[in-house]
Symmetry: C2
Subunit: 343 residues, 2 copies
């Protein structure tokens, strides 16, 4: 059926277009009676106002894209929900674009920007390592969320929102050391992750050093590149290998909760107990870390704050209200059942 327009509704009602618009938008300068009549006509004709006052309002020309690496990561679900709410409140349209682990998010963004005439972009997850000249091909503002750039990149040229991955990783390893653990395995990112993966590894090393513990690279196990990154399966496979090796350890720190849960599964399958035989710690603070049995000691990232700030900065950049900034939120060590003190 042909689309009905606001002009058609105005004709049917015998009023002006402005009056119809007032009825739709709850404008005070319209009598209740006229408004009721117009809304009835709108309803009967299944007219969907383009500038409806509803929070669903979207405009094809005002779109924000969120490019996400690792959509199965439960941590991102909470962020996405906030993104969508905030973007809709600003009357922008929201595109969620998943990017494969091995896909180049910047290429996807450049293409998407052209095709969808984006106003802004959020890069979520993965690690971000691109040439400056390629980044300059993006002509709309963007914000990195939960990720950073490598140090050689000028921080005045981009914005980011995250926790301090070095410090929070340090916090967890420091805690495990304080519980008497001297042999702490790390399930880390792949070594080409020079962003959060590197920072969390550095935090681990520094905490060991501060406790006078030797760094044993055999206890640092990277996620498998042929498995989905940050997945339970990846944590499971890596831990199974570690358990079958000759390398001794009393605790595992996995750089995501999902990896930690995979680690737990491998430990249970080997007939061992958590935390009596091995302490296991994660990172993120997703729901399942609480619901798992045993509940998982973790670093809880403030997901809502991170997501809200990301959108705030993005819109400030769009409206040229700010220069580039780097917002770092504190995260929280949450001690639960999966870790214990050893002698």
């Amino acid at each position: 059926m042909a689309s009905i327009t606001i002009i058609d509704i105005a004709k049917m009602c015998g009023v002006g277009v402005t009056t119809v618009s007032r009825a739709i938008n709850n404008h005070p300068d319209i009598s209740e009676e006229t408004k009721a009549m117009i809304m009835q006509v709108i309803k009967e004709n299944h007219y969907v106002p383009n500038n409806s006052a509803r929070n669903l309002k979207r405009s094809a020309s005002k779109t924000i894209a969120v490019l996400i690496k690792g959509i199965t990561n439960a941590f991102f679900n909470r962020l996405i929900q906030v993104f969508e709410k905030e973007i809709q409140q600003k009357k922008y349209s929201f595109i969620l674009q998943r990017v494969d682990d091995k896909e180049d998010e910047l290429e996807v963004a450049i293409e998407l920007e052209k095709e969808k005439r984006l106003r802004g972009i959020v890069f979520l997850g993965g690690y971000f390592s691109h040439a400056k000249e390629k980044l300059e091909q993006l002509s709309v503002p963007y914000v990195l969320c939960t990720i950073g750039m490598t140090e050689e990149f000028d921080p005045n040229e981009y914005s980011s929102v995250s926790v301090d991955d070095f410090k929070e990783s340090y916090k967890m390893v420091d805690y495990l050391c304080s519980q008497g653990h001297k042999k702490i395995a790390l399930i880390s990112a792949t070594m080409d992750d020079v962003s959060i993966g590197k920072l969390r590894l550095e935090g681990y090393k520094k905490a060991l050093a501060d406790h006078g513990l030797a760094y044993n690279e055999r206890l640092v196990r990277c996620m498998k590149e042929d498995l989905e990154s940050y997945s339970m399966k990846n944590g499971y496979v890596v831990t199974k290998e570690l358990l079958e090796s000759e390398d001794e350890f009393t605790a595992i720190f996995a750089i995501s909760d999902s990896l930690a849960i995979g680690a737990c599964k491998a430990i249970f399958e080997a007939g061992k107990r958590i935390p009596e035989d091995y302490s296991v710690a994660g990172f993120d603070g997703v729901d399942i870390s609480y619901y798992y049995n045993p509940s998982i000691t973790t670093i809880r990232q403030p997901a809502e704050d991170i997501a809200e700030e990301t959108i705030k900065i993005l819109f400030d950049l769009i409206h040229k209200k700010t220069t580039h900034i780097h917002k770092v939120f504190p995260a929280e060590l949450v001690v639960r059942e999966s870790t214990m003190r050893i002698e």
Copy 2:
């Protein structure tokens, strides 16, 4: 910077536009040398071909939207990954639109169809209960995925892909009965869910009846409407109430794995064991049902098959290659550690 076009590239290379196009699209009728030269110029000028041969090709005018209720449901993650892959392979653009539990997915779809000029829609999750005249406002084909319509709706007027929710629910309850359970609690959908929620409840009732067991409505506990549907928290809260009631039971069947995990948490918190004190079963077969401790007995839905078939039917409808069909996939009872035989 102004966008570079294929014409600019042709000029810079001193060749015709067709030649540039051939280079980009790996056409055989172009010498390797010319192709190399053109690709070098393309690279140096950061030109992004609009009709690149990459699977990223999207067109603003060819868009499929997936409207999803319950984005935190891990089961949907697997479906979404397949949707995206299949839609991109068909050179269509993919919009993922989350719909709140209390939001009307049909209203969202009607508005989205106008604004984004959609070619097709997938409705995923929730339950689908809409007036016929309102459905007719959708002018593009749509497929219901994992959901059905109420019986009064003419099946010749819509398409759907799902499992047989009645039969699969029956299968699980029949299994629990065969293990000696006579008092089986059900964590069900809200009573206004006249789609899969109702079918799974009916399957439960029928299995009890076939085993000569009385139906006790006090053991049927609906998810809380003020909590996110199908969430771990919902399962937790409902089970905590059940445990604190006077109602006796030896097994819980939750109509999703996430609800089942919430149920497990409540049982552990009450100082009880699984499966020794209570058997717990779920539905869906998501990854965490395997990784949980104990691993959860569940009904595994064939997520990939369901998602692929949904897209296949949708495109057949778009290309008018099919009339409406209802594809039902078998699901599989997966017995794991969370259930046991009792005397």
